[in-house]
Symmetry: D2
Subunit: 334 residues, 4 copies
């Protein structure tokens, strides 16, 4: 039985508490939050859990797992301390504020032989798992492009731009689906209020071969769209996260290419085939992710959303900001 | 009564012939096409028009207007010859293959005191005119961004990439709506067949202030989208060219910004107001454009889609190709 | 301060308990439920409320209000007892199983000078209130028809057909919007399983003049639709309850009719005008309804969803069943 | 080589002329129309066809086929004369103004051993043929219901109500898909202008077993819908004639029914499976229908849309009008 302590009972903390508390091989024993109001709420919802003020529960000897759901700028220190004290760590996304910090956590996890998993919840949704299956089994064929749009009339964050706010979702999904092979990044964006923060951004990620990924992120859109299109040589898919009935549509469409002697070497003919919308599992992603976390700890298995994966996402976010500041310069990813 | 000759009776030529023939102050007297089959078709459809093979009707002394609807690579020479021979010219888009050629035509038109109008038909649709009105009257407020998506499973062109095929529409609409103030361009794209031509491209255009425009162009999309979103400080609009019933939707949405003393200087609150879909005129754009052309000739008025406008679009296309070849480098527009 | 007791803590009861408990002029003091599991749940959620097994709290002298959220077949007896014991009653829909029972409750409420309000929650949604305003102010003009579709792949009820399950919503909305003037009803339907209960039904309601209302109710639809179209002489509206962004669309469309001498007396020309989607208030309907209930008790005001309104709905449901059994015979409404 | 004469060169006539003229085994030799303007148009479009004024070409000895595309009230006489003179007849829908006339034509065709085919073009569209295949192969299972909606802001006809204007399409499709087994019909409707003609109507058609069909027909709808839902025991389908990309969607959805001992005999559980949108052939329906007509004449094969089929549709239309006049009385179909 793993004993877990949660730091941060704000927006996402209650969901983490509920799912960890419900796991049969895990016991949620402590919740820490600096706000008295949130501590009261936590105590009411989890009467048998000890509720404390200080985040120093990272050092508590009776805890095996530290769950960190605090503001990003605190992630590094809390996670570092937890790892150094021999805890497994569940860390909210984005993992850290800088790539250097993320890499230090990767090393700390390795050195202390502890698991650090970054909560990229979307990777555990039925839709993303179905897309992973479609890509890995080759049903889409070789991939041409990955185009993602996540726009709405949003809540402006005060300390980060629209990329750091919205793109962690999409970059982690792309990284999961296409593999950790992104080579470089370029971004353009603009802010329209006197904050120095972009509220509209376009991010391009380059992969080996001619695979190109692109992200449209926008806090100022009158319509809400969350749509990803993946084009492959055999089939293409559209994932519409707002269409609950038909989240994923797979199109048997593409270009049939023939090579011809003579004037035009290449002849491309559009192929218009059937469309198919598979049933997508509707169970709670976070529940599955918590189960996966516990299973990885117990079995010693390395999760796909490990510290290295979290660091890759932070690396891409950092490169995006660099590119934004340098007029779209292409920034290689390490 | 203007006497007009048309060169090129292929895809678009018949529409031009029909509209010029129907104009009360214009007489279509000659049609030239190199293909015998197309000449036959022209003769059947317009029994009273002389049909010839050679494009040298640019020199015919009994013609006032030359309408050029031939492949792009022939535009420059035909238009130049027509202008030098004192004809007014209607030229299909894109105007020329290079900016240098376009500029030479601008000068030739000026020198010969003749009108050269570039056929950007979309500028005469009810939807674009409605948007122009909404922007010019200030109903949208100051503009934040212009985002355009034109994607479908397309017919591959053999000699130009997806940008030269699809973007002339969107760039000319943007130029018309936002004014001739674009400062620079950056583009990324990829081709997936052995042609050296991009089939997916993302183009960013920079305007003074923080106005940013972006174009997603794609020949390999399983779904067809033609949608433009324009974000303003007061209102925002979505133009969906495939939704015949509600082409334009105007959203009374935006950010109400207040400046606050203390920790966060800027406070932005989303404003969710009514949506409104005005009736959009459904008359044929080309008919209106032909009338405008004749009116400009007769009155000496300079059309908004004049040679200079056509040259700006070619300049943007050329800059896009340059940027594509140089890894997205930002290319200043002259 | 009104003291309220709730009978029935099943599907809807918790929402009622939460809203009554939160009202500043009401105190929820007792919850009754026959199920031990539900009593436990009630005790956990409302620690300061007394939880009991028997529904005989209708006779408790320390209660002013009885809220009844039990199965329909129990409504009559519980509500009668509560009224006879001088309580105000909040009753779930449908009010009773028969029109005779409903009428007896109307009389009991009058005789005891107590309020009986039937919970037709939809009448307190922003969408229905907006439609009421549009109709009452004459913005739609004279009404032509009211067409409602409520279909989905549904949970089969074991004791009632699709009409008694789904139509109480729509009939009460129609009754509220068009006024209590329905004159007759006709219905066709079919059941496809060996239950004797219709799973597909079409119900037509006749109003004075040529106003016609129609309801499509279906438990066996592969797609979920909840859409009402109201056609008026000036404007028409579509209410799509599943479109959260644009719930109500008002179309400035209709027929412009002119009377002509000669062959055809009537000339009708379609008028295609603007569309407009007003912001619809998004607050919780049940909260507003509870406030209205308390206000009506305190002020002596008669609510629009009073016992008589509830009885009209039951009357229509009963007439529908009669018509279904008699092959669509038109049943007059009393 | 069949020699064909066409009577009526109005709205639909030119399409018939074009398709008959293009058929390799058919020669269009004569076109008759009472209007001089239409005769001029016909002569211009078909220079080698003789154009005449009188419809008496039904008696011309050099014609094998008469194509009738005139107003409905003239159908009976023209078709009768053509049959009596030994011609095969292509007749527009609806076949005649009364069932008695239709039956007389059925007999005339039999007596004269000539083919009378009624032009129900929709039966030759890719969508309807795909549905026919899905039903006939049993992919949908046993059928539960057939629900059709055809509404828009329409052109009012001066001499027929909305049912006679719109329902011939839907009734003929239903008759084709479900087979000629309709037993009875009931209809309600209202007219809202002083014409005595219904502009809104709801028609129910009863089939053996519990199969029920329903049609919503409306000239006064602010939105245009053309959608048919067919519910079967195995699968269900939605045909949206306005969605060109995904005309037919097949849902692996339904009710899994188990019989239980005890309180509730029947237990129905919703089954939510995949959705599938097959490619639907996009070729011109009328071309295929003309080919089928010629093939039936040449081979002596009886077409499915023969005189009897046309008479069934007229019978249903007549019964609908009867039911409308008799307050929805269920009218048996002969």
């Amino acid at each position: 039985m793993l004993r877990a302590g949660l730091i941060g009972y704000g927006y996402w903390g209650p969901n983490l508490a509920r799912n960890f508390a419900a796991h049969p091989e895990c016991k949620l024993t402590r919740i820490a939050d600096m706000s008295e109001a949130r501590r009261k709420q936590a105590a009411a919802n989890f009467p048998s859990v000890e509720v404390v003020e200080s985040g120093s529960i990272t050092r508590d000897s009776d805890l095996d797992v530290i769950i960190i759901a605090t503001p990003v700028f605190t992630h590094f220190e809390l996670a570092k301390e937890a790892l150094e004290n021999g805890k497994h760590v569940w860390l909210e996304k984005p993992m850290t504020s800088t790539l250097a910090q993320a890499q230090e956590l990767v090393e700390a996890a390795e050195r202390n032989k502890r698991l650090l998993m970054v909560d990229h919840t979307f990777l555990f949704t039925g839709a993303v798992l179905k897309m992973k299956e479609l890509i890995d089994t080759g049903e889409l064929g070789g991939l041409y492009y990955y185009d993602s749009v996540r726009i709405n009339l949003g809540i402006f964050q005060h300390d980060v731009n629209v990329v750091w706010d919205l793109a962690p979702h999409d970059l982690s999904i792309m990284d999961f689906l296409l593999g950790p092979k992104a080579e470089a990044i370029s971004a353009h964006g603009r802010g329209h209020f006197d904050t120095g923060l972009e509220d509209v951004a376009y991010v391009t990620v380059f992969y080996p071969g001619n695979l190109i990924a692109h992200f449209h992120l926008n806090w100022l859109s009158p319509v809400k769209l969350r749509r990803t299109v993946v084009g492959g040589s055999k089939k293409m898919l559209v994932w519409d996260d707002l269409n609950r009935e038909e989240q994923i549509k797979i199109y048997n469409k593409g270009m049939d290419v023939t090579t011809k002697e003579g004037l035009y070497r290449i002849l491309a003919t559009p192929r218009h085939g059937d469309m198919y919308a598979p049933v997508v599992a509707a169970s709670e992603a976070l529940k599955a992710e918590v189960a996966y976390f516990v299973e990885c700890i117990n079995s010693g298995k390395n999760p796909h959303n490990d510290a290295a994966a979290g660091a890759r996402i932070v690396g891409m976010l950092e490169a995006t900001n660099q590119s934004l500041k340098q007029n779209g310069r292409v920034i290689p990813l390490k």
